[in-house]
Amino acid sequence: MDNIVYLIFRRMRRPLITLLMVYSVTILGLVLIPGEDAAGNTHYMSFFHAFYFVSYTSTTIGFGEIPFEFTDAQRLWVTFAMYAGVIAWLYAIGTILTLVQDQTFQRALTESKLARHIRHQRDPFYIVCGYGETGSALVRGLTDAGQHVVVIEIDEFRSNMIQLDNLRLYVPSLHGDAQKPVHLQDAGLQSPYCQAVVAVTNDNEANLKIAITSKLLHPHIRVICRADSHDVEKNMASFGTDYIIDPFDTFATYLAISFQLPCLYLLQAWLFSGDEAELEEPIYPPRDRHWVVCGYGRFGKAVYHRLRQEGLDVVVIEAEPDNTGIPPEGVVQGRGTEADTLIEAGIERACGLIAGTDNDANNLSIVVTARELNDDLFFVVRQNHSDNSAIIEAVKADIVMHPSKIIADKIRVLLNAPLLYQFISLAYYQDNDWACELVARISAVLGDRAPVIEQVCINDDRSRAVSRVLARGENVKLGCVLLDSWDRQTRLNCIVLLMERHNERKLLPSEDTELKKGDHLLICGESSAFTRLFWNLQHDNILDYVRTGRVTQQGWLWRKLAGKKPR
């Protein structure tokens, strides 16, 4: 706000002084020039009358000649005064109008509005740097879940587009280069309410710089970065970036999971994708014959290495092998969109095809061509732009890999429930039957509703009643707090996926587990179950009921009547 006031004052100096000079000269002239009263005596105008007269003539109001009719000498001076006054006013008003339309002024206005909003922000918020494909998907996911976000975007057009995107919450968007510390500070990096910084610009260097700045200026903040190259990842890790996400490695890992544990892949896709999630049928990627990978860029390489680790034979098709490098088995040169390249790669004998070029049209063309040659193929398609969702869906690939969405989902999970991430890593070491059973259990609990994932901490703040009981030296079993407080014979529709206690993590803890202070629980369930669960954790009476089945008397009178001593 200060900026704007100063800006206006600075620009207004000259017009104001002009106006003042015109006023004082004309007033002085009117006072000095002798006039005549009705009787013909000499009369000098007072300053008050002169000021009044000049005020209404120079603003073109014009009430007539006061206090007496003017002499010709006075009229001569007044003629000059009128023109000078009107011009001075036009100049002043014109300057103000120019100022209002000025780009600098407009920007100062937006910036001050934004700064005020961020200063008055009293809820936790995240800073998202970069509002491209990933950024917009992430921001939508976060705001849909009711979380506040501040966006920094280098492109003015996209930064303005945010307000048109129909997000559930107001998202302040700062137009600027997030690499510059001042923009991060403007976005509220040093605010105690800032929870995390997410760097998802398309520039590795920029993400790196954002991570450094954030870690230096606000050391306790969580920083999540996108990185496409292993060099940058190492650099980011070296100064404590909390999570580094490589879209291609991430997808390659997902693909590996889908090979080894199809049910876990299913579960992960279901839990990660948020509100619109639907449980799909498990997919079983074939592994009996060789796979064809089109495109040997960053995506292709990551997938290639994973497939090789799975012990599969892979044939790579690449249009420019000189730029991308050549895998040890050699490469089939071509784009993969024409039938002869695909035939050369042995598409008729293959069991799966991965269309992984960075061009959506080519990927579609590859799938369509390959399907004509071999109908039984398992298709994995890389989607580069979210605008193309409709056509990509139309080719009915078995797996669609959309890097932006993958990162956005993953970051959302990391921000909301970091334990879910730990859960998947631990579940990776279980076998497929275990995962299938878990999927069956969760879907039995949820029915066809979308899963809600919450992370609950046993502490004084979020679970007051439990803390109080624990402080008295009594114990609380995990199974108790999962009972319905309306009727403790029924259980809430939720499942505890993971319990973390002093860096020790336990998958699917049993109901007999006793809760301790500082425990973190990862719970998956339907949304109404959480309302009841939080009552159980927070409210003394309700906790007593679900623990013991008795309804205790809380009021002083009722406790007296029940013959108990007040606690």
Partner: protein, 127 residues
């Protein structure tokens, strides 16, 4: 030499000197305090105030504040004069003159502070 500083200093000092000129004399004698002088003080003070607009330094802010205080006093003095002569018709009685002059005296104090601040700024400027 910075011409902006010259103009700035000139108006600040001039507003003090003019103010002093109007203030000096018997406090209740209208003959010692001319209306033209008050007009000049008012105009010069206004110019000085506008010149201080938009200065973002701490000293600039204090200078603007002193100028605004002086302006308030001078406008009050001019209003008292106008009301006494034109509205109530009391004319410049010793009581009215005394209040006008004492108001301008207050403005002079603010102008003195302005000049002192200007001197401090000059002294602190190391070159």
């Amino acid at each position: 030499m910075n011409p902006e500083k010259v103009v700035f200093g000139f108006f600040i000092v001039l507003s003090l000197t003019l103010n002093f000129g109007f203030f000096i004399g018997d406090i209740d004698d209208p003959d010692h305090h001319h209306v033209y002088e008050l007009f000049a003080v008012l105009v010069v003070n206004l110019i000085a105030t506008i010149l201080k607009f938009g200065d973002r330094s701490q000293l600039g802010a204090v200078l603007l504040a002193t100028s605004l205080a002086a302006m308030l006093q001078l406008v009050a003095a001019a209003l008292v004069w106008t009301v006494a002569v034109h509205v109530t018709g009391t004319g410049l009685t010793p009581a009215v003159t005394a209040s006008i002059v004492s108001l301008s005296g207050g403005a002079m104090l603010a102008n003195v502070i302005s000049v002192i601040l200007l001197i401090i700024e000059t002294v602190m400027l190391r070159r």
